[in-house]
Every structure is written in C-alpha cells, then in structure tokens.
C-alpha cells in the first residue's frame, strides 16, 4: 500500500510536487535524497498533483528522488519511555537513544470540549516570589514570558522546570541556539529534573519546517501524559521563532501576508497551540509557559500582540527581573485567596508601595527635594528589588510572605502600609 514515486514535478523552496493518486490530505511521505531521508507532509491536493512540504528543506532535492507515501499522518510515539529523551522536530531521537515507534498518537488533534473543562483553581508553585506571590501561576494556565532578546529567559525557564511542582516537564525548543540547548540539558540533569523531562529540540541550524512541528509534538505528548492523570508543564522557547518559521513558509508559498509579513491565520495558529492548556476533570492537566521575544521591546509587534489576546496574562521580563507592572496572571485571583489569608492584602500593599517608590524615584531624578516619606519609599524600593524581585531569590510562598512583612516592618510604621489592622496584628514581625 505504500506507493513509491520517482518523478518530482516541481521544487519551490521547501515544497515539492509529485503526480500521485489516492493520497490523503496531511499524509506523510518519506523522501530519499542524496543527503539522506526526510519526512514530508502533504499540504495541498489538486487533482493528481500532490504538494508536499519537505521537513529537511528543498535543498539538494532532485527531480528523480524517491517519494514514498506512508499512509499515515504525522504522529508521535507515546509511552513512559519518552521521559529523559530528546527528539528533533521530525520526532527522531537526537540523544543517541533508540527510536520509539510503538503506540503512535496523532499530533495537532482536536480541541477539548469546553463543557468538559474545569475552572482553573490549583496553584502551581515555582518558588520564585515574583511568580508565586505576585502573579501566581495556576495549573492549566497559558502564560507567555514577554522578553527582549538578551534577557535570561532560558535560565528562568530552566529554573521553573527544576522547581515547579509538576509531574512531567515537556520542553519545546524552537530556533534554539546550540549553546542554549546544551545549557538546558546540563541544567536539567544537574538539577535532577531530566528523568521527568521530554525535550523536542529544533536548533537555529535545523530546517525551518521542523521548527513548526515542535509545539505540536510537545503538546501532543503533554496531552497524553495529562490524560494519564499527570500534571504536565510545557515550556516553549521561543514562540517568536515559531511564528517566524510560519511566516517564512507562508511567504514562500505565496500566501497573502496580513501584518508585517505574518500570515492572516497567525492568531488561529497560535491559539490552537496555547488552547491545549487544560485541566481535565478528575485527571491531569497541561500548563504552558512560553517565551515570546519582542523584537525591539515592542509589545504591539504581531507576535506578542496576538499572543496577549490568547493567553491568560503574561510575565514581562525586563532588566533581569519579572516586572511587577507589565506582568499579569489573569487567573491569580482563582487561587491566591486560598493560600494564606495575608497573601492578597500583602501583595496589593507591596505593589502599591512599590508604585509609589517608582514615582518618588522619578521625582528624585528630576531633582525635587525628598521628604521623610520619600526616604522611606526609597529604602523600601531598593530592599524589595534586592530581596524579592531578584531572579536568583528562591523562596517558598510562605517564606516570601514572611519576608515581605519583614521588609515592610523595616521600612514603615504599621499604619503607613494601608493594610487592614487585623492582618497587621497577626503578621507584623516582633522586633
């Protein structure tokens, strides 16, 4: 049943066309070129003209190369053996381990019936105070990390991977620098998290088409683990590279671009990946954290802009810190009322005071005179940045809350904090 064709009619970019019949839309084929074998996917059928997208790219493909249709769609082998393994965008191992072919599952499957979802209401602890305390991550949330290139976003992801309370970590790397790939591998194995991690890695040197497969592979695996009652954390880096790969391919296929060259379906494409985040009733869950680098720190760039409309908030990484103002976890109020009773009040008060500190700092820089209150705010702001905001701070939520009270007590009098009196009585540290 596997038909073989030896005549390629046209080659444009990554797309080849063969004359064939009985071929299914999105069916996979294997093409054998002088550089080896590559997978290709059917992206268009027009009568007996079949257009395929070659994963390894069109370079070096000859009109006489052999195309063999496999009769199946793109799939990923799923089992517990995946844990600790590393694959590329075609699903081939790149860690010298054995190939997995059992129990293949389709990728990019249908979306979850909204009536079978449950309201996200479990906190996902990361031991990073700027997350746990100020913008709590919730199980089944989808959150991007908006960042400028050069920020330590991969370090942040690696830390979250090692510290987050998740059963399984799935890491999808798109357009990753090889150094960063090595860093992840190294950090996760040192941190002891490698054995519960699956990695799908596309490095910057790999073919563009494979970049587009990474989120689907990672999320398909995550979904399968979630259906086995596992809480899965999916880390994707960097979704802007994914969008750029989509742009590159759309343009070589002569699609009409909509905004800065990106295809018109950018929103739908991103949404169909992010919406894989889910909390299954009585089963596991998928939580997605995805780095989105913002070209030129411009949040209105199509990729972060469309992402913002899809996700449930964002972490805004700037100057090596998670900015409390640009960042938002839309689901935090689902959980932060149940953690500790001072959580919300303390969070609000500390942010409010930090905002005042920023204003004071501005006044100071403009040369205005500083009052005693301004002095307190300046002391507070610096302490807050050093002891809580710094990304290297590693504290449980409870310890972070206690530290918050300590900072307040060191800088202010009780009634200057604007916190309800009964909470102050209970939590204000005794000197």
């Amino acid at each position: 049943m596997n038909q073989v064709y030896n005549r390629i009619e046209s080659i444009t970019g990554n797309v080849i066309t063969v004359r064939a019949s009985g071929v299914k839309y999105h069916e996979l084929a294997q093409i054998r070129t002088r550089f080896g074998k590559s997978l290709a996917e059917v992206i268009k059928l027009d009568g007996d003209m079949v257009s395929l997208q070659v994963f390894a790219g069109g370079q070096g493909v000859s009109t006489g190369d052999e195309v063999r249709f496999l009769g199946r769609e793109m799939q990923v082998a799923f089992s517990d053996d995946l844990l600790g393994r590393i694959f590329n965008g075609s699903g081939e191992p790149i860690d010298k381990g054995p190939e997995l072919t059992e129990n293949r599952k389709p990728i990019g499957g249908p979306s979850v019936n909204p009536t079978r979802r449950i309201l996200a209401n479990r906190m996902l602890r990361t031991n990073i105070p700027m997350i746990d305390m100020f913008n709590t991550l919730v199980v089944s949330q989808k959150l991007p990390i908006f960042s400028i290139s050069g920020e330590p976003y991969n370090q942040l992801l690696a830390r979250i991977a090692m510290q987050a309370e998740a059963d399984v970590i799935v890491l999808g790397g798109m357009g990753l620098k090889y150094d960063d790939f090595l860093y992840f591998k190294d950090a996760l194995s040192k941190g002891g998290a490698l054995s519960r991690t699956v990695m799908f890695i596309h490095t910057a040197a790999d073919p563009t088409v494979e970049c587009m497969m990474i989120p689907d592979m990672a999320l398909a695996v995550a979904e399968q683990f979630a259906l086995q009652d596992k809480d899965v954390l999916v880390l994707l880096t960097d979704m802007t590279n994914f969008a750029d790969a989509m742009k590159e391919i759309a343009i070589t296929q002569e699609q009409v671009p909509s905004n800065r060259g990106y295809p018109g379906d950018l929103y739908s494409q991103l949404a169909s990946r992010y919406e894989k985040a889910v909390d299954f009733a009585n089963s596991g869950s998928v939580t997605i954290l995805a780095v989105t680098t913002m070209p030129g720190d411009d949040v209105t760039h199509p990729v972060p802009d469309n992402t913002g409309y899809i996700t449930e908030g964002q972490y805004y990484l700037k100057g090596g810190r998670i900015e409390p103002f640009g960042s938002l976890s839309r689901l935090k109020q689902n959980v932060n009322g149940k953690t500790r009773k001072d959580h919300r009040a303390l969070m609000d008060a500390m942010i409010r005071l930090y905002a005042s500190y920023k204003e004071t700092l501005e006044k100071k820089n403009m040369g205005f005179a500083m009052s005693r209150w301004d002095g307190k705010l300046l002391k507070y702001g610096e302490m807050f940045e050093d002891r809580l905001m710094d990304l290297s701070v590693n504290l449980s939520l409870e310890a972070a809350l206690d530290l918050g009270w300590e900072i307040l007590a060191e800088c202010f009098e009780k009634d200057e904090t604007g916190i309800k009196s009964d909470l102050i009585e209970e939590f204000w540290p005794l000197k």
Binding site: K24, H26, P110, N113, L119, V256
Partner: protein, 591 residues
Amino acid sequence: MTKHNAGKVVSVNGNLVSVEFDGNVSLNEICFVKVDGAELKSEVIRIHGKVAQVQVYEMTDGIKCGDEVEFTGEMLSVLLGPGLLGQIYDGLQNPLPELAKQAGWFLERGVYAQPLDLEKKWEFTPLAKPGDTLRAGEVLGFVPEGAFTHKIFVPFSLLEGYTLKSIAEKGMYGITETIAVLTDSRGKDIPVSMSFRWPVKRAVRCYKERLAPTETMETKVRLIDSFFPVAKGGTYCTPGPFGAGKTVLQHTMSKYADVDIVIIAACGERAGEVVETLTEFPELTDPKTGRSLMERTIIICNTSSMPVASREASIYTSVTLAEYYRQMGLNVLLLADSTSRWAQALREMSGRLEEIPGEEAFPAYLESYIAAFYERAGRVLLPDGSTGSVTIGGSVSPAGGNFEEPVTQATLKVVGAFLGLSRERSDARKYPAIDPLISWSKYPGIIGAGETGYLKQLVLQGSEISSMMKVVGEEGTSLSDYIVYLKADMLDAVYMQQNSFDLVDANCGAERQRYVSAKLVRVLGSDYALEDQDGARGFFQRMRQRFIDWNYAEFGSEDFKKLELEIDRLYEEGKGAISARAESLLKGGEN
C-alpha cells in the same frame, strides 16, 4: 436523500475543498464530505462551472481526491423552537454537552447532535383559529419556556398568505409533531410543527416595521448608562487592546443588562472564559424572573482552537437565535466577543480563495459584512402589535490596540455607540476602562442631556489641565484650574469607575444613577471657600472618600441616607455655593 446531488473531491487546500458535481447546487448550500466513515459538514462558497468550492467546518486531514461528497439542497440553518434557552452550542448549533456524551473529552470531527430535544413534550396552547388567514411570523399558539411565553409561529420561510385548516388542541406535544395544518392559495396542505429551520445568513424580516431605538438599555454601568448609553435595539462596540477588560465588561453586561434574553457568542476567544460563565451563571439569579441566570442565556461557543469556518458561522447562528426571540416581543441582547476573530476567519478564507486582498489582507467585502451583521439589530413592531428588539454589542480586538485598523474602522461606521477601552485606564486599574475622551453614543441616556454635557465638559477641561500640569507642575497651575482638575478627578473616581467585585456598586440602577448624578452636579458645580492647593486637595479627597463609601451602600438604605448627610455636611463646611449653570441644570432648565 438520494435525490440530492453528489460530487467528488478534486482538490484540497487547508479547509477549502473543491468538488466536481452534476446537476445544480446553490451558493451557501450545505454538503457533507465523506472521509474514513465520518461525514464532514461543509458549505459551498463559490461555484465555477462544474466545480464547487466548499469550506469544510472541520479539520480536513485524510481527505483524498475522489472522496464522495453529498449535497443536501439546504443552506446553513438553525433549528428554531422551544428549548433553546440555557443551551451551550458550538457555532453550528451542536449542543456541546451532548457532543461530550458522544465523544468524550475532545471535539471529534464529524460528530453532530440534534440542537433541540426531540423527545421532550411542551404544553401547547393554541391562539389561532381554523379559518384564520396567516402569514409567516404570525402566532399559532404558545408554550411556556422557563419564565417566558414562547410563541409558536407560522414558519418564517412560508412566503405567502395561508388559511389555517386545523390546529391542535391544548396539550403536550413534541417539537416535531404536527400542531397545525395550513392551506396555501393553490389548496395544498402544509403541516406545521413547533420547530422549523431558518438559514442563518438571512435576516428574519417577519415584522411590520422597524422602529427607532429610543429606549435606553440599562446596563447598570454608570459610565455607559449616563454618558455613553446603549438603546434597546441599538448597536455598540467595545474595542480595546488585550487586557483592557473587554471580556469582563461583556460579562458584566450579560449579568446586569436590563433585557429578557442574553445570547453570548464566544467567537474565537479563550475556552477558559466560557468555562467561567458556565460555572458562574447557573448560580446567579436573574433579578427580573427570580430564576437562574442560565435560563435567560444561550451560549454559542466557538473558541479560538475550534475550526475557523464554524467560527464564521457562529456569529450568524447567534444573531438568528436573537432574532427568533425578538419575534416573541422580547428584548434580546447579543454579545459578540470578539468580532475581530470573526473578521479574521473571513480573512483566512478569502486568502485561500486567492481573492485580491484589501487593507491588512482583509477581504474587500469586510465592511459590507460587518454592516450587514450590525444591521440585524433593531427594534421592530411585530405582526401581533407587540415590539421586540435585538441589541448587538460587539467587542473588537484591534491589532496592537490601534483603532485605525480596518475592523474597528468598519465597525465604527455602523454602530450607534462606541465604548473605546484604553490601555492607560486599564493600567491605572480603572474599571471600566472606557475612555470618556474618545467614546461617543448617539442614543439618549438615563440622565438629562444637559447634565451629561456639563459633566463631560468637566472631564475634558480636567484632562487639558492635567496635561498642562505635567509641563508646568502643580506650582505653575492657578488655583481655579487646579480645582477644576480635582473636580474632574473626583468625577472619574466616584462615578465613572465602578467596583465590579462589589455587588452593590456593580449593580447601579437608573434611579440611583439619576440621584447620584444630580448630587454630583451640585457638588462639582459649586464654588468653595478654598484657600490654596493643599486645602483644595484635602477637601476634594474627603469629598471623594464620602462618595465612594456612598457607592457601596444599598440605595435608599439607612446607611445610604446617613452617608448622604455626611456629604451634605462636608458641602456646608466647604461653604459650597452652587453656580447658576448647575442650578439651572438641576431645575431641569436645560434638559
């Protein structure tokens, strides 16, 4: 079924499939593509010679050239009849809970379900009598549906006048049982049941005439009702960047708006938001009927990861259901969140059809489609003399928060009210983040036009002074200007902003708005004995705090009266003297 046309797939490109057919097919006809035992619902969107191009409402994986296609001869339509309220449908009117029963966790393709329960019996009471001459949209009888009287109509698709031959007696009937027989002019009998189908892309026009939308639809949001009101039968849009609170605002409207029926079209947005509504609504009470809020709500849910073609259909499905309940003399509010996603669905399809693109690759017909959609709103005089209305509120998600983009601009041309949300206001945690400086409305509000104008003027002046102050500092601002600035700031804080988490403040009725706004005109339209800027700031801060506390007190309660007295006392302390302009406004001189 065999009498319908059949065809064969000749090409596949994304969800656009070309089909070669024999005989006749019509534009927008529904057909099914048969693949691997599943039948995928599709719609004809272009015909060229013997080839029809159809958009498939599902994923097209696995389709091959030569696969069979069956045409149905029918356009994309919805089933109308009792039992629609409280349902959760996808864009094609499949009830999602039923799909979950059949297919489990995921929305498997090719799985469809009956939109209405065919087994359930409803208590039918006839109104028309044999011998009556009836036309489409006229009433045969009614059944009770929850708190509503659900009228049973002569199907909208019957185009001429008919004589009622027979009608069922009062009793329990299923929605497909024949309850009446009509005779047409040629003497042919037409059996009629309590349900019928109607093509979603055609507006229902079974009314005597369209009336002007003049009555304000109370939303309980002060900034809307008092400043930028929406009328029953009117249209409005809420564009705003992400995170500005479009969905929260729509959600508030769906809870508090003074209408009979609310239809929520979750079009291409997050599934999590629908889950929130689904969790919350059954627990909330509709103040009008005392029943669960879910019983006045229909949710059409085609979230962002569901197929794009049915996202396009979902908007039409929603508006058709809204028109159906309007025919019963009810006021219906349709909330479409977000129309930009619908426009994007049009754009994706247009791209596949290789049409010449317009601005930002949207199709050239974008404007006329948006206009046609909003024009389906309106207040109408019905055949039985009652009036009903459909109000449409569409949120718009402009790329980069830039209102110059095509969808926002096309929408602004056709709506009657523009509630523009701004990033600045939402960043300052002001809810609702509707920017009073850019928004407008063509409808009459619940407070006098003179008062509205006066307060709006104050906001404008305040914003001018505030931008000036950024340059010259507080020291360089005159005391009178500074006081105007403080007044505008107070107006914003105590009236334009509202706490959506507080049950009393979030639900501010018309009477209360009139009462409070009159008090505000008095307080803000008065001159005070204030010495300097510090004194002025202190005075207005105290006044502002009083008003905020007042907002949280139940209207007319003891607390409310007590807090009002405190405001009056402070007014006296400040030696308030009302200006002539404000005084004449309060006497109704300019209203």
